[in-house]
């Protein structure tokens, strides 16, 4: 079955440190890939997207992600986190159906001062 896995429910990082949030999917083809962020009591905002081409995609606020097809992964990275990055991050993947996204369960990012 097609699925998206975010193995870390919570990640704690010190302010200024680097960050990686993991996302793996189960699908034999080449999917469309997305990362969204949800700040407290808000809707989801698109951080970045991958459709084709350069496997490293840049997003807003210094975030980037790398599509590694051989590993079925699309991990999110940031070189130096800020306290305002505290939020829940969702990975989503479009596979066979062009209409639906398969969602990961989310990773809550906590920034330590």
């Amino acid at each position: 079955a097609q699925s998206v896995t975010q193995p870390d429910a919570r990640v704690t990082v010190s302010e200024g440190a680097s960050l990686q949030l993991r996302c793996k999917y189960s699908y034999s083809g080449t999917p469309y890939l997305f990362w969204y962020v949800q700040y407290p009591r808000q809707g989801l905002q698109l951080l970045l997207k991958y459709y084709s081409g350069d496997p490293v995609v840049q997003g807003v606020n210094g975030f980037e992600a790398e599509f590694i097809k051989s590993n079925s992964s699309f991990h999110l990275r940031k070189a130096s986190v800020h306290w305002s990055d505290s939020a829940v991050y969702f990975c989503a993947v479009s596979m066979d159906s062009n209409y639906q996204l398969i969602w990961g369960s989310g990773t809550k990012l906590i920034i330590k001062p």
């Binding site: 808000q42 809707g43 905002q45 969702f90």
Partner: protein, 111 residues
């Protein structure tokens, strides 16, 4: 750019009551979605619509109805609210096959 508006922002209902949530988008997107998000959880798809007057069930459609009478609007009805039900309902829209854009959500509380 565009925007997705959801009304109401907060919805409080009684057990057994029929409740309607509304969503409007001005992106001119073809496809619209309704998701439910329980506290601290991920998103579950309730209904989606790929064009005006089209409705497709998601994994969580039982207990809900939807209506897409115009391209720009998509309504969701909770057919019989369940006591102690608390969730956020998120509306989204997209050009078919591309990224989804979300509204701010409607918070439902059932007393």
């Amino acid at each position: 750019g565009g925007i997705i508006t959801q009304t109401p922002k907060f919805l409080i209902g009684q057990e057994g009551q029929k409740l309607t949530l509304k969503c409007q988008q001005n992106f001119n997107h073809d496809t619209m979605y309704w998701y439910r998000q329980d506290s601290g959880k991920g998103l579950r798809l309730i209904y989606y619509s790929i064009t005006e007057n089209d409705l497709q069930k998601g994994d969580l459609s039982e207990g809900y109805d939807a209506s897409r009478e115009k391209k720009s609007s998509f309504s969701l009805t909770v057919t019989s609210a369940q006591k102690n039900e608390m969730a956020v309902f998120l509306c989204a829209s997209s050009m078919t096959g591309y990224e989804q854009y979300f509204g701010p959500g409607t918070r439902l509380t059932v007393l």
